[in-house]
Symmetry: C2
Subunit: 195 residues, 2 copies
């Protein structure tokens, strides 16, 4: 029974997100109302308000949800990581697979909220890579990294992925590396050979 409800909630949320992305092709974010959204998704307005208080909250929850899923996907790889650039390819790819959500967040001018979320998750990634060491989540370096990578990813997606994904994942690896204190992790296979 709980599973059935869960499945229904998941379906509702997926329909709402799909409808929002379609509406964003036609209207500026600020002109989209909850009514327009529920009409498009063919869902009753009260159903929307049982799940969210606003479209912004809906987007924030979709972001947190997606970030959790990607984190769980990457969890094992992070534990076994030896070469940072090989993990960052997967990370960038996972976010690129959710391109439409990122573009919706951008269109909704929620950039600073995405950066905050990226900072929280980056800290979790780094803590695993550091094997028990912790990183100060409020550090300016972490904000520099997460804000920077968000902007680079956004530009990359908006340009239609003009550059190869490796360029982006290398920037990510280079930005993360100074925060990794675990000496068993190298930036890349090439960097290890150079030592």
């Amino acid at each position: 029974m709980a599973e059935e409800i869960d499945r229904r909630v998941r379906k509702t949320r997926a329909a709402l997100l799909k409808a929002l992305l379609e509406l964003l092709d036609e209207y500026p974010y600020k002109e989209i109302s909850v009514k327009m959204l529920t009409d498009k998704a063919d869902i009753a307005k009260p159903t929307f308000y049982r799940n969210f208080t606003s479209i912004e909250e809906m987007l924030q929850k979709e972001l947190d949800n997606k970030a959790n899923i990607i984190f769980e996907k990457e969890y094992n790889e992070l534990h076994e990581c030896t070469y940072l650039d090989e993990v960052t390819v997967g990370l960038v790819q996972n976010w690129a697979d959710n391109e439409t959500l990122l573009i919706a967040l951008y269109k909704a001018e929620m950039d600073s909220k995405v950066c905050e979320s990226f900072a929280r998750y980056s800290a979790r990634y780094i803590n695993i890579l550091n094997k028990g060491g912790t990183i100060d989540i409020n550090s300016l370096k972490l904000r520099y990294f997460s804000g920077g990578i968000y902007c680079a990813v956004r530009t990359w997606l908006l340009s239609g992925r003009k550059s190869p994904i490796k360029e982006l994942s290398d920037i990510m690896a280079l930005g993360l590396f100074p925060m990794i204190t675990n000496k068993a992790i190298h930036l890349s296979r090439a960097e290890k050979r150079d030592q």
Copy 2:
């Protein structure tokens, strides 16, 4: 005569910006109308519309204007730069002196526009430091740098400047350095000694 008009325009713009910053202490950005703004600034509504089409455009112009002033201020120092970290202290300080404008842009959710502006200006700074070399303004590395530094500066300002300014200017120098191709420029005096 032209100077007189110029002076009047400058005064009007300063009064409008001051009024906007005061209103932002009381109201969320989205609730502030042009009428509220011109009433607060004691300026006629048509005067506002002679200068701007919207509050957002006003903020964008203030940002461009400020970025130009800071660029001109730094211009000579950039030409004579030998140690990057000594130039970035000045740059961070200049932006910190315009804290209220940056916070207004943040409250107006114009983060991505600030990042774009930072990217354009960063390219100009780097081109001077490279002495005639040029940097691709659309490069992902430049977006990483400008988005990162904006997020770090924003966090720093919103925290009430909890960390010393040197921490921020060092992050900035470290982020810029990989894009500097001019071999006569060093990251810091200490880095030069280490060579």
